[in-house]
Amino acid sequence: MSLDLSRFHATFFAESLEGLNHVEQQLLDIEQVGHDKGVMDAIFRTIHSLKGSAGSLGFGVIAELAHEMESVLDRMRQGLMSATAELTNVLLRGVDCLRNWLLAAEAKEPVEAASGVELVRKLQLLLQRGGGDAAASRAVTDTAADGGTRQKYVIVFRPARDFFHSGNDPARFIDELAQLGVITSTADLSALPSLDAFDPTTCYLAWRIALETSASANDIRDVFDWVSNSCALEIEHVRETEVRSAETPQEEGVPRAEAASAARRDANLITMHVRTDKIDDLVNLVGELVITHTMLKQSMQHLDAIKDARAVSVFAQLERNVQDIQERVLAIRMMPVSHVFGRFPRLVRDLGLQLGKAIELKLSGEQAELDKSVIEQLVDPLTHLVRNALDHGIELPAERLAAGKSAKGSLSLHAEHRGGRFVITVSDDGRGIDAKRVRQRALETGLLDAATADAELDEAATHALLLSPGFSTAREVSNLSGRGVGLDVVSQNVRKLGGSLEIASRLGQGTAFTINLPLTLAIVDGMIVGVSGERYIIPITFIRECLQVSAVQLQSVVGQGQVLHLRGEYIPVLKLSDLCALKGAVQSTQPVLVVLEAEGRAIALQVDDLLGQDQVVIKSLEANYRKVEFMAGASILGDGRVALILDVTEIVKQRANIRPMSGRMLSDAAAAPRDSSVVAV
């Protein structure tokens, strides 16, 4: 059989994995909306063609499981079996299993067949019964687990030549393997040189070890974990009939390597896998390029538009190119948010079943794109919010009916770009946040003292309590959420990404969590301000407006400094030079107020000068130093010097709630202050 099948592999893996994702989605749909001939046919076709391709490409295990699934699906398609929760569960697990196998095969790793044996049996059983009695199937599963667990593996252990140099002894690892089960080991002497060329400190041997064990491939891998960098290791799971062929590996070895590289070549035509750190390097370099460009721009300011027309136009060209490169490079890291959203239909279904709640999940805006690094760090917070909504938010069907709602709860995830920010909302139509319970819980956990609790807490303060560490209102600690590591962790994670978490809730009607994020963590549009000879950068997204101090009315509040009265709103004024403890402050003759807004609160920052607006590359202060209070990071300005980037969210949090804002002192004003919250921290 000299036909090289491996060139089809790349396509097979890509198509099958995509197909499985569809099947997963469709199975969930079927469960939701009931039997649909068209959808059922589509699922059947996908699994059927997967079975066919897997079989012809030599992935026997995959084909076998797909075959069993297909048989069941065929009966379902004909309406002979209905999509019970149990059946859907088994099929979904089948999809998981197929997916794992495909991924393993794609990575040229040994397929772990053991997990499929149980599924195949279960499917066969379901087929015999035509779906039904759950107890019987469980019994069969149990016996299957007891009887069929001893597996055969062939392990090829090829230590690196300098294996002894690190003080390792190959025999020790073989001994350790022997503890897992029965081993038969043969040494491969083919690499041994003649005696005169023999170096006693070099390891020339390799071993082929047949192991019969109840341990998994991972357990075997663990044995070699310690030396994984200094040996080549192949672990192959052998099915009884294949043992013979696996024992003659030399003939197969070479063509297999060729096949692998061919598959890789093929895949290259469609997409290219690039290591993330290479892209990160590129992003860093582009950052440098942007800085250099800004430096050049500053040194070219004196050029005359007519005399130096050529230089000016060439520079304009360069400017466009730099901008294009920056956009494209950042776009490489942009991924649709569906990468995170995609995992939720399944999660919601499984959790819903577990909790006995009926839930409809609505996803929207999944195509909106976000920086990969942000997306990755969103998985945990979002998963937590979804679990939280299912666990605490949405009520049991009976409770919902009693409250006059439909029995089925609704959970929606929505993503969108909003003014240079990325906003994700997780909202449910559940019971909402009960302020009374929150207060009581806060008293119990000591987050709140009795005196404060007696005072009426407004919404913002209640929500602030929810985000405090150690707070959880779950009556019992469940394994879903409510381990006390709750919303505070979510809020922290979001803040680490430069974002914020907002809660809106109405008792009995539902809760919405809104995550507000920057599009990218790499570059920000910044306003450069000067104060006392130092320069700071304020991210533009937080700036509401800029005003000349002379043109506006500042009012002094006794003992509390100044407030700005702006269109019926009282905004506390903060001098940046005070915030940054700058000495020798030269009073500017024409100070400027920059009105900043974050988390629904405003503050006016007094600076000496506005120096300009630029895209700045965010550099971490923590890389070589530490987190600096009120600073989100640093950047390098056109002249090569460092300027710190203000963390507006932190500043507003710390300073916008100073007493003049509390409203009562100024309550005679026509318009009440926008913000009157006393934030419990």
Binding site: N284, G287, E288, I291, Q492, E534, L579, C580, A581, L582, K619, S620, L621, E622, A623, N624, Y625, R626, K627, V628, E629, F630, M631, A634, I636, G640, R641, V642, A643, L644
Partner: protein, 163 residues
């Protein structure tokens, strides 16, 4: 890390290289392997609410690097900043830190066994951060454990408890 090198050195030449520098009247030296480069003092960007010996941060080829003035830290000499002020950029566990010293003398190879245990007191730098003393051509050199010094609490270079 030091042990590994000492072992190596023992089999070959039992010497280790140090960079010597002056702080006031005292001459110190530190492991040359932790030195990335030596440069002149450039304008730094000050950081609010930090001790006065943390001068601020500089841009070192795109990296934001904090600068510590050891002269101020150890109350040694008048901290002047001019064309001859020297900054030693250290690379410790992939973190870059610049230290300001009075002057850099030279690179010296010290036989490992010539480094004696430090006396209990007698130098401006706390003995906790001193790994030993050595003599070289009649000069007395204090060998600083720079890694330890830079990660000590009172320098506040590294966040103590991160959330």
């Amino acid at each position: 890390m030091i042990d590994a090198r000492t072992d190596e050195a023992a089999s070959a030449a039992p010497k280790k290289e140090f960079l010597s520098f002056k702080l006031g009247q005292e001459e110190y030296c530190l492991d040359i392997l932790s030195v990335q480069e030596i440069r002149g003092y450039d304008t730094v960007t000050a950081i609010a609410n930090t001790p006065d010996f943390i001068k601020g941060v500089i841009n070192l080829r795109g990296n934001i690097v904090p600068i510590v003035d050891l002269r101020i830290k150890f109350h040694l000499s008048e901290a002047r900043y001019d064309a001859t002020t020297i900054v030693i950029i250290l690379n410790l566990n992939k973190k870059m830190i610049g230290i300001v010293v009075d002057s850099v003398s030279d690179v010296i190879a010290l036989p490992v066994d010539s480094i004696r245990e430090a006396p209990r007191f007698g130098s401006a730098i706390n003995t906790e951060f001193i790994s030993g003393m050595a003599t070289m051509d009649e000069r007395m050199l204090i060998v600083v454990d720079i890694q330890r010094l830079m990660s000590s609490d009172d320098l506040q270079l590294i966040e103590q408890v991160s959330a």
